[in-house]
Symmetry: C3
Subunit: 341 residues, 3 copies
């Protein structure tokens, strides 16, 4: 693709060779002559002098104090957003399959939309519905009475249990499990446990992305619901009857226990844990490896082994790091006092 | 099902319409006219006035100070246990398949019990045995010389490595891996590692339930054993040669390192970690996100980033939260003392 | 196998019956007459008097102060390494399959080496290459343009996304996912998120072993790289653009965030977390459940909820455990001081 075409897409201004051929995108440290790169974060400005890229996206006010004539520049308002657009342009398109593999299984009574892809050894049980333009890759297991919307991508080896509902534009990565039984048992007099039937389901709303090997349990009764625009990373565990509101993002290895409610636009850091039956309000940011055992009713940043407001946690942490000094001071005070006796 | 039938099952007493038709169960907040619900926890008593349920299970001493004539009541001794019974009655029965799918693979030499179900694209290698009434859902991989007992349910995409032994009434949810190699390597002089062969197996005793994407490693020699009645949640990692005794329940994302021994009737909270080669006695309760690095020889509750008895941990935690006050006090004391000089 | 053969393999000296028949290996506590065992760790020396093993591997200087004539001894320099050799000799060989299952799928354009095994319901998409002597077990999904080297073992239900590169002698256990999308989203003005295309790949170098249900995300651009000799346990999450250098070992449930760089010969304990964009130098040992949020530039041992050098952490931890005593002391000091007024 010629640089002038790229500049057209970005509504940008070229300094250099409009005819330069660009074949792909690259990181500024490793890009080659046939690639385009960008600078947005000031930390990367130092690489301008050394990058091997053939072209670079820069903001209007980035000063190029160097004699490099071998690199063409596209000037734009926001180099980061512009680069994301170009990333999409060069996105590899090997996942453009359509058709239904000969060696998959689709039970009688299923409804299939138009222009779908079903890969090898996919098993879809009775009465399930797959929306148009959806792709289900190899070795997925879709149980009975499942609904999957339009434009979804279900990567290989995903399992979806019966009755679950996946809405439009959802992406689920490999190994994830939607709708397995919630962890519910009633203790018997003899110390053994009796299983509590898990009769509910899971609903995944539109525009949700779910990473690999994440598990979302079905409700005991009613539903576990992941609202529109939520983004879940890999290896997350979401227990029965959890509710996660719109546009919340959750990093890898987070665990959310039963019936917890998470608000809108929250961000939860990796490996954090949320206990059951609590509520987290909208716009809460939780750090990594944080334990949340009480409801949070005020937006803000929370951190620590036992979650508390970030500033309190930080102050506390500094004091803890100085605890040995505190001990010394006390011993000195004690000596002074006894000396005075 | 008529309310009078339900009351019969529960050995309960009806106040209201014995002929009311009940089609299912519901949570008190969301149940509709055709559903039955219950109150056990006092926190939910407030919903009695507003619930839309057609019928409700209550204890004999629950006072219904309201004029609601539109809801029928079944009086019982224990509303929670009664409701669990009714949950089972209305449990959806879509998993009642039997038969062997045409497009599965069962190697010669396997023994199959009666009335079993083997789903699409299941692969069962040579000399494995599947007990009667057991269901193995689509895309499971069962390696050679595996024994699976009677009345088991193995959900889709489960892997069981060779030689492992699953006893009767075991449920394994999707994506779980039983019998993968323990993590054992011997460091060489050049800093590289040599694999230590993992020749043992995994034994899962009766009545165990295993959540989704949980991993249980085979022993180096001998066996990793999960005893009868143990309940494991999702995304748990159990290393080689671990032993977990009867009726212990473990929440999601717990990790148990090699050769650890866990006693009977223990409860381990989510995301906790147990280091290798230690012993935890019977009847120990471990909180969530607790690190256990030493053996525990006394029943009780343990908590904290480094496990200690709950009361000690709590007292300690309160002091830590006040550490900034401690610092202030010391500074005041210092000033007083210098003032006196 | 006769004991004299085993002694030959180990270059060891027999005390006892050279003709004794040994059929396998066992742990010293549970071995029987037909098995050989060993003592390396002094903690196990007490079992010498009681072991039921038919033969035992001992060091030259182990004193056998007992009248046991029923057990034959092989004397060697290093009983542990010798035992590892014998473990390999007796390693069960049920995984010696070769051949291509009738009911797998290999797309046109794939290149297959010699002497390979491809199991049931394996799906290999177009233009992928499988090296000689490699085994791919049932229900694996290998997407297009994947390269897998020689002598690899890919256990059941593994997923490898397009373009990824697996080098020689790599072992990947069940349920692991290589090459799923990195977790990258750009926040929009309305609070929703836009997916950032993940166009890079994953490279796994030679002699790497990956446990079960571990996830390694593809790079946004460029590659996520796991260098030669790295050993990863189960349920590890490795984010996009991470680089892990040679011979580093990582225990179960560790999470490594995007673009982190881990040095050579590091050891990372279970459940630890490494934040994104930081560097850990060579020869760093990180304990279990440690949170690393800053680069580490000095080899050594690090521990704690917030990583710090082990000795500092230990000293600090002891002080924290005594914090209630510190509080008491201060109260006493305050009383003394007021008493003096």
């Amino acid at each position: 693709m010629k640089l002038t075409e790229i500049a057209g897409i970005l509504n940008g201004r070229i300094e250099g060779k409009p005819d330069a051929e660009i074949e792909g995108v690259g990181k500024i440290e490793t890009a080659n002559k046939n690639q385009i790169t960008f600078i947005s974060n000031p930390l990367y400005e130092k690489y301008f002098k050394t990058t091997g890229a053939g072209a670079i996206i820069l903001s209007e006010n980035f000063k190029t104090n160097s004699n490099r004539k071998d690199i063409s520049i596209i000037r734009v308002d926001d180099p980061y957003l512009s680069f994301l657009k170009i990333l999409e342009v060069f996105q590899s398109n090997s996942n453009d399959e359509t058709g239904i593999a000969e060696n998959c299984f689709v039970a009688p009574g299923c409804e299939l939309g138009e222009n779908i892809y079903i890969g090898n050894f996919v098993s879809i049980e009775r009465n399930s519905k797959i929306g148009s333009n959806t792709k289900i890759y190899s070795n997925c297991s879709i149980d009975s009475d499942v609904t999957i919307g339009e434009n979804c991508i279900i990567y290989p080896n995903v399992t979806i249990y019966k009755d679950c509902e996946i809405n439009n534009n959802v992406i689920i990565h490999s190994g994830s499990v939607i709708g397995s039984d919630g962890f519910g048992f009633a203790r018997q007099a003899d110390g053994s446990y009796k299983k509590i039937p898990q009769n509910g389901k899971v609903v995944i709303e539109e525009n949700v992305e779910i990473g690999s090997n994440t598990c979302i349990d079905r409700a005991t009764m009613g539903e576990t619901r992941i609202c529109r625009g939520v983004k879940l990373d890999s290896q997350i565990q979401i227990a029965h009857n959890v509710f996660i509101d719109e546009n919340t993002v959750i990093a890898a290895q987070v665990g959310i226990a039963g019936s917890a409610r998470i608000g809108k636009r929250c961000m939860i850091g990796g490996q954090s844990g949320i206990v059951g039956h609590i509520t987290i309000c909208d716009d809460v940011i939780i750090g990594a490896s944080v334990g949340v055992s009480k409801s949070i009713n005020k937006p803000g940043i929370y951190s620590g082994y036992r979650a508390r407001p970030y500033k309190d946690d930080l102050k506390n942490e500094i004091a803890i790091r100085n605890i040995n000094k505190i001990e010394e001071k006390i011993n000195q005070l004690e000596q002074k006092l006894s000396g005075k006796k």
